[in-house]
């Protein structure tokens, strides 16, 4: 079972108090604020999941919420992923806004039936009579030596299904803003967090209505020479790689974080590719049928004439995640692979 590696007290330091300012929060604290604010704003919002209440959440995202909102709205569940999600579907169909936490993305596979066959399809297969305003949150990602059943990245699986919205926030500000948007949205949302990011700090707008719309990519770094699209944690890894590219190779990379995969802000990506004429997509998940495979197809379909090199992909290795620390580290992308992939797009031109 996954447990938190990081149990520091929640310390929010306001750097610029008052309206329009920001404060520094960890990713998990930003998620916690989003849940707390939305639960205060709307009585129909409640959360349920394994060990989210008394235990305060395996990754402490739900810290303090049981105490604040009580057992009706913060519900510890048995270990029954498919039924927890299905119960969320049913409750959403009668007007509630459940937020279900699954302990890891790997465990969400047990709930695949309810996520795809029910949540994603109910509106369509019943002729639009009902909506399913459900959020299913789950963390993913490698780096904590949790081996082949706790370390994967499955956004590509959920991206596959029409009817779902898919969010992959990489910063505390996006984690908060996208989660608030997900809760307010009338569609089922698969909200994929990243275990590595929970402890990362970032500036978050000090505003209860800080909502990040789905379908709006963020340009993390501007550049003229190459477009790097980074998914989930890889948006941050791509930013570091871009720094190295500028310093070591005089290549100015534009880094784009799509933030949501459904809807996908393809226009921002295409506009960047039309400017830079080169593109590398970075994801932690597997290569076959991955987010990058899909995005590369879309880019070459729509911007083929603008490309000076094939679209490059940097992905996790095509293996179940190993436990061994050095093996695990080489099984998902780091800056050097991204730098190498970018540099190779400049060859043979």
């Amino acid at each position: 079972m996954a447990t938190t590696q990081d149990t520091e007290q929640r310390k929010a330091s306001t750097s610029n108090g008052g309206g329009g300012g920001t404060k520094t929060l960890r990713y998990r604290e930003a998620l916690n604020e989003a849940l707390r604010e939305e639960m205060h704003r709307d009585e129909s919002v409640f959360i349920m999941g394994e060990d989210i209440g008394v235990f305060n959440g395996a990754f402490k995202v739900t810290q303090g919420l049981l105490e604040e909102f009580g057992e009706k709205r913060v519900r510890d569940t048995p270990i029954s992923e498919n039924t927890i999600v299905g119960a969320g579907v049913g409750a959403a169909m009668v007007g509630l806004r459940p937020v279900v936490e699954l302990m890891t993305v790997n465990f969400s596979l047990l709930a695949m039936d309810q996520i795809v066959n029910s949540a994603a399809h109910i509106r369509y297969m019943f002729g639009g009579q009902v909506s399913v305003p459900l959020v299913v949150r789950m963390p993913q990602g490698a780096g904590h030596q949790l081996g082949p059943t706790h370390s994967h990245c499955f956004e590509a699986l959920y991206l596959h299904a029409p009817g779902l919205l898919v969010a992959v926030p990489a910063t505390p500000a996006d984690a908060k803003g996208l989660l608030k948007a997900a809760i307010r949205d009338d569609n089922p949302v698969v909200f994929i967090e990243h275990e590595y990011l929970y402890g990362q700090r970032g500036e978050v707008p000090d505003d209860e209505d800080h909502v990040v719309d789905f379908g709006r990519a963020a340009v993390r770094r501007e550049g003229e020479d190459v477009t790097i699209v980074g998914i989930s944690r890889m948006a941050l890894t791509a930013e570091k790689a871009a720094q190295e590219l500028a310093e070591e190779h005089e290549i100015e990379a534009e880094v784009i974080d799509p933030r949501t995969l459904r809807p996908l802000d393809l226009d921002t990506i295409l506009a960047s590719v039309r400017k830079t004429n080169r593109c590398v997509i970075v994801e932690e998940g597997w290569p076959h049928g991955g987010v990058g495979a899909n995005l590369a197809a879309l880019i070459q379909e729509q911007a083929f004439d603008d490309l000076d090199a094939p679209v490059g992909r940097v992905t996790g290795a095509d293996v179940p995640m190993p436990y061994s620390k050095p093996l695990e580290q080489i099984a998902f992308p780091h800056e050097p692979q991204i730098v190498q992939a970018v540099v190779s797009t400049f060859r043979d031109v």
Binding site: T77, P78, M125, N187, G215, D265
Partner: protein, 371 residues
Amino acid sequence: MGENQLPEAAVAREWLSTMTLIRRFEERAGEMYAKAKIGGFLHLAIGEEATIVGSARAMRDDDYLISTYRSHGHAIVRGTNPDKVMAELFGRVDGCSKGRGGSMHMFDLERRFMGGYGIVGGNLPIATGLALGADYQETDDAVLCQFGDGAANQGTFGEALNLAALWKLPVVFMVTNNQFGMGTALARHSAVTDLHKRGDGFGVPGMRCDGMDVVDTYEVTTEALRRAREDRQPVLVEAITYRFRGHSMADPEEYRTKEQVEEWRERDPLETFAARLADEGMLSEDDVKEIDEEAVSIVDEAVAFADRSPHPEPESLYDDIYVFGDQVRGWYTVDERAAGVHRGERERDEPQDGARREQFQAVVDSQDAEV
């Protein structure tokens, strides 16, 4: 049969009428399937009418019913116009799910029929969520969740019963034990064949009813719903019944003998109930005939309605996948230059003409020609 108390004459007549309507509807659906008016799978509930009507009549209007892929009768018993059920089977735009769901996916929100589900056992978690919703909103609505004996072996059975009991949710789980999970007989798929006993380990007491007897089914379900609603005690009810037809239309029925089917047919829920009402002097032979003629005429009209109803427009292919709002305007791309709702996919934004329109029309024409 015969031990329990008959309801008053008007109620008994309505029960017989509805069971007869479901029977005639199902028979006609089978005929329409043979004529290729209906595609896909067609699962008929002939033989199970007393289970459907007896249990649904124990419900209040505000209670939720949720069912399986064998659910034409469940829609009808809740009051969905048979026209819309037949139109759904025909895949037409006036079907209760606009031709999107078909036989396995009937739905009627207004009458709180929360759907037929095509995944065996997939509806139990949702039923638990409906009950959670009713409880959370502090109503006294309850949920009746029907599923087959085959579903009792899915993981969701144990998961949902446990969760419902743990959270004291107002839900009755009713296993329609028709003796077969598709072609696998009860004793060949379940180590414990007294399915109503299976809830004990989850804190869900079991009850059993004669699913061939509408009165017994009504009485047992009424008590089960009372316990769920008033005592916040989920109950597992096992209705013993039998389907006279195959699992679906594509079923050669090699797993059972004609003799067994005949044995059960002697307990036909319509005939036995009609005979009992006649014995009690509540119904004449003419009444039974009248009820039957009325059912046939409703079904005639349903077929005519379904036949008249148009196919969904090809432009509706992408409708109702998402709820569009301020933030979700499309799912493929967000385009600042596009006005209004932007569904994204380039082909969707253009009329469905050319090859796709031709293909659509060719299918419509061939369907019409087959009749």
